[in-house]
């Protein structure tokens, strides 16, 4: 039995899934005063009459860290940066305690100038006189050589409970993003630790020992231990829950697809390429901060079933705001939902009021009511179509670095659309017309996000570099910095990378047949320096493919409109 819980902005949904079948679903409003209680309340209801021993895992998609950041409910962080030579980024939004260190390592991780212990002692003294609760330590190129970050960490470790080192968060290069990511990680660490402690205590009282996993923005899950170290990984998992929910509700197409989650206020758009999710190229943005947190690429637009429809200067306008519910559901303002009600595709609570409101506007603009309803619906389709085209133009222009890739010119071309959300079924035939693509929608979507959270499996991504001249192999994500021989080569590196991600998968509780370790990128560069022969700079990116623990059984199968 798998328990999945998705905490969104307004509602919290939960599901219990056994052998791929949905056993139970619950839905509650979120209590903004007590997020833990919201989750616990949902869990308790789900677990009624379920033997704790039968629970295999609990998967949570939480907004604990997201809300802490957005609501600025975060710890005071002391930030220690070693910027080295290069672009002078101005970091203004890292709180009040920012300290700079001299010294640097270069792009290969070679130490250029050592740490200055005197500077560090001064920072320590200064920080000790301020109400600092957590530390973030980030050096330029620290993923290539974390020695300085570790030494700084050791220097401070007896003084602070929460210390984040930049190299632990991602193997990707991007110093300003590493700084922001480390800052946020340190800033939410104690919030997330408190939440976890509450959770574990409550579960223990119920006699539940099942492992807990937290959904990440990349559609994978992380175990509680990992999440405690990298709580920033748990931010913005909502779109990932909806994405994974759709993967569970629809067939497993290995083609290019566009996924649309249309809600009341917004519509989220995602893409699959050959059945694999498209990711943000570097990382997700939160609260105007660009991070290195891996995420499924998603674009949200201000268009939904409850978007405000009105006439401005004799033209019809839709959104981007939602003022209230559709007239058909007790609101005051016309919405696309009302247009669908008029067209007989949906039934509201107040269909007559809804139709009257539409007729009123039709008269105002001089159209037949049906023509207006059709016009509104087709405008929604048009807006979605334009957005998709813009996104594809952007994604298809993403930089490539090899001749093979450039010549291949692999463009994303959706062959079908998968859609969930309130108006999905009603809108599907119209959208099919606008997009000239088949549009699929599932029978039930109400708890799609919770299903997505429940069925998401753990993922691991690693960025390995093996440098035979320095004789060092590094995998920042796994804190691996090992000696290698001169004769290390690409084959060995790839085998080792696969072994490492598989092992990480096993540690995260994935059965062998679910691990699906794969090499994402692999290359080996000849390094020629002087007459000392040829060394190798080997780079391998490997991952456990994000995916589902199990498919959902046909009960919730999809339909073509």
């Amino acid at each position: 039995m798998i328990i999945g819980i998705d905490m969104g902005g307004t509602n919290i949904d939960g599901v219990a899934i056994h052998d791929g079948s949905l056993i139970k679903t619950v839905k509650h409003p979120v209590d903004r005063e007590n997020y833990f209680f919201s989750i616990w309340h949902c869990l308790e209801e789900l677990l009624q009459n379920i033997d704790p021993q039968n629970i295999n895992r609990i998967n949570l998609s939480t907004t604990i860290c997201t809300n802490a950041i957005v609501e600025n409910n975060i710890s005071e962080v002391g930030v220690i940066l070693q910027t080295g030579p290069g672009l002078k980024w101005v970091f203004e939004d890292l709180g009040s305690y920012l300290a700079y260190l001299s010294g640097s390592v270069d792009h290969r991780g070679i130490v250029v100038r050592d740490l200055d212990m005197k500077e560090l002692a001064e920072i320590k003294e200064n920080f000790s006189q301020n109400p600092i609760e957590a530390l973030a330590i980030v050096n330029k190129f620290s993923t290539r050589n974390p020695e300085f970050e570790q030494r700084i960490h050791d220097f401070f470790k007896s003084d602070y409970e929460e210390i984040t080192m930049g190299h632990q968060l991602s193997g990707k290069l991007n110093f300003p993003r590493r700084v922001q990511t480390a800052y946020l990680n340190a800033a939410v660490a104690s919030t997330f630790r408190n939440f976890t402690n509450h959770m574990l205590e409550a579960l223990a009282q119920k006699g539940i020992t099942a492992p807990i996993y937290i959904l990440k923005a990349d559609g994978g899950t992380i175990d509680l231990k990992g999440a405690l170290n990298k709580p920033v990984e748990t931010i913005l998992s909502g779109p990932a829950a909806s994405f994974m929910g759709m993967r569970a509700l629809f067939d497993d197409a290995q083609t290019d697809r566009c996924l649309i989650d249309i809600g009341g206020t917004t519509t989220d758009i995602f893409f699959l390429v050959d059945g694999t999710p498209v990711f943000e190229p570097t990382g997700i943005e939160i609260d105007r901060r660009k991070t290195l947190v891996r995420a499924i690429y998603s674009v949200s637009i201000g268009l939904g079933g409850d978007s405000h429809v009105r006439i401005e200067e004799n033209t019809i306008k839709i959104g981007p705001k939602r003022l209230d519910a559709a007239v058909a559901f007790g609101g005051k303002h016309l919405t696309p939902t009302d247009a669908l009600v008029y067209l007989g595709k949906m039934t509201g609570q107040y269909p007559d009021k809804s139709k009257d409101k539409l007729k009123e506007m039709a008269q105002e603009i001089g159209l037949e009511p049906k023509a207006l309803a059709l016009k509104i619906v087709s405008m929604v389709g048009q807006k979605i179509k334009e957005t998709i085209e813009e996104i594809l133009d952007q994604l298809n222009a993403n930089p490539v670095y090899t001749i093979e890739k450039l010549l291949q010119d692999r463009r994303i071309k959706p062959q079908a659309v998968e859609m969930i959300g309130g108006p999905a079924q009603a809108l599907a035939p119209y959208l099919e017309e606008s997009l000239e693509l088949p549009v699929f929608y599932p029978e039930r979507y109400e708890v799609a996000n919770a299903i997505g959270a429940a069925l998401a499996k753990p993922t691991v991504e690693i960025n390995m570099i093996a440098d035979t001249e320095r004789k060092i192999l590094s995998v920042p994500e796994l804190e691996i910095y090992e000696k290698i021989g001169k004769d290390y080569n690409l084959d060995k590196a790839q085998d080792y990378a696969l072994e490492l991600v598989s092992k990480a998968g096993t540690t995260l509780g994935l059965p062998q047949d679910q691990i699906e370790a794969e090499i994402v990128e692999a290359s080996s560069f000849n390094m020629v320096q002087g007459y000392y022969g040829v060394d190798k700079n080997i780079r391998v990116k490997a991952q456990i493919k994000p995916g589902l623990l199990t498919k959902l059984k046909k009960e919730a199968s999809s339909h073509e409109s």
Binding site: G86, L87, H107, R108, A397, P399, L406, N526
Partner: protein, 437 residues
């Protein structure tokens, strides 16, 4: 962070292409540059955009070169893409997408001359010329200055624009007596249609930041002030760097960035530069920031400290003397041309060209018609030591009717030997023919 000038970066390291596995022009060349650019977070600066290169066509190549036997045989995909990267750089700026652009592509192009039998100095086609001539056809003719800051003489670009008065070519380089390709003297001033518009600045070994700065300020900037180009291109070779393994100069990342900042080019393109760990990551980052109008004062090499690479007084006085003489030539170009070409109907130029990478020796005679109405139709008769013989005829972009007619007349003349392959490069009508067509 926001760029003052919007900048299009065509960063295409071609990680799957090398001349040979241990050749300096190998996969690894831009690896650390890319690392540095990624780590600096350049991609997140507002106003800096990354573009993929396009792919050049054979027509783009034929606009500039006489390739023997033909472009398809000589070039690999990487050359079409490097030239396509240059086209993208021109499109970005002239198409109005960005204020400036920088093509960080490989292999380079500035040693590729009009006639091409193979690889010279790691170049087969002159990617900046291919890009520029493409742009002139697409966006209209323009007065252009190319400032080549590679340590080697830009002999390919010189040859291509030798007789073009609308393309002012200025090459900074280490004196040809001490470095490949052994050309680039001050006296090489151009053909009869563009005398004085080819400017060589041969600098003594060990010239440092100070020397480059001096020449830029005292010679190049006044010349640009005079010439008033519509477009400035910086052929940004990075082998003047003090760590470069192939050369003997003492230029630094700060020096390159400051030069670029002062020159203020619209478009830059990477040329040579093979200190791929110690120089390229810093020089390229410096140029990117300078072009974007951002603070580059923090960009320096691990082993850089002020004073270490200061040039000697002897070098300083040599540099000042050269700077003065180059400017004098520019000011006297009309008088010098009058003296040199007066009364001549045609001007001949005889040269030997060695293809170091391909190991081919070429002998050629160029013949320029002296025309009062246009730069003049011109020809190149060329043979190489492998038995190839070609005749290349160029009708300039702004040719007069007489020169246009004469170009076709020479091309259609049947009296020449059948062993000789003929090429007609009709830049006026954008038509490119060969005798086997």
């Amino acid at each position: 962070m926001k760029a003052k000038n919007t900048l299009g970066l065509i960063l295409f390291p071609a990680f799957d292409w090398a001349i040979s596995p241990t050749h300096p022009e190998r996969e690894e060349r831009l690896l650390y540059t890319q690392d540095q650019i990624l780590e600096e977070g350049i991609e997140d600066i507002d106003g800096i955009h990354f573009f993929n290169p396009g792919i050049a066509t054979t027509k783009d190549i034929n606009r500039v070169h006489f390739c023997y036997p033909d472009p398809e045989t000589l070039l690999t995909e990487s050359h079409f893409i490097a030239a396509g990267g240059m086209k993208r750089a021109f499109d970005a700026v002239l198409g109005g997408e960005t204020d400036k652009s920088f093509a960080l592509v490989r292999p380079p192009g500035h040693h590729a001359q009009r006639v091409v039998y193979g690889d010279r100095g790691f170049c087969i086609i002159n990617i900046e010329a291919v890009g520029l001539e493409y742009a002139r056809k697409k966006y209209g003719d323009r007065r252009v200055t190319i400032v080549d800051t590679d340590c080697h003489h830009g002999d390919g670009t010189e040859d291509i624009y030798w007789n073009d008065p609308d393309t002012l070519f200025i090459s900074f380089h280490q004196d040809g007596r001490t470095l490949y390709p052994g050309t680039g003297y001050m006296e090489e001033l151009g053909g009869p249609g563009a005398y004085g518009y080819n400017i060589n600045i041969p600098l003594p070994p060990n010239t440092g930041d100070e020397g480059f700065q001096y020449v830029l300020e005292n010679t190049v900037m006044p010349i640009l002030e005079d010439f008033q180009p519509d477009l400035i291109i910086n052929s940004a070779g990075q082998d003047n760097h003090y760590t470069d393994p192939l050369t003997n100069m003492n230029f630094s990342a700060q020096g390159y960035a400051a030069l670029n900042h002062r020159l203020n080019p619209d478009i830059a393109v990477l040329e040579g530069g093979y200190s791929i760990q110690g120089a390229l990551p810093y020089v390229n980052t410096g140029i990117v920031l300078a072009m974007a109008g951002l603070d580059y004062s923090g960009v320096y090499e691990p082993d850089y400290h002020l004073g270490k690479w200061k040039q000697t007084d002897r070098v300083t006085s040599q540099v000042q003397d050269i700077a003065r003489r180059v400017l004098e030539n520019w000011k006297n170009k009309e008088a010098l041309a009058e003296k040199k070409f007066k009364g001549k109907k045609t001007v001949q130029r005889q040269r030997q060209v060695y293809y170091d990478t391909a190991g081919i020796m070429e002998g050629q005679i160029q013949e320029f018609k002296v025309c009062p109405d246009c730069p003049g139709v011109n020809m190149v008769h060329s043979k190489n030591d492998r038995g190839a013989q070609i005749l290349g005829i160029t009708i300039p972009r702004n040719a007069c009717a007489a020169c246009e007619k004469e170009g076709y007349h020479i091309f259609e003349d049947k009296s020449s030997s059948s062993k000789q392959k003929k090429y007609l490069q009709d830049l006026l009508n954008d038509r490119y023919l060969t005798s086997s067509d």
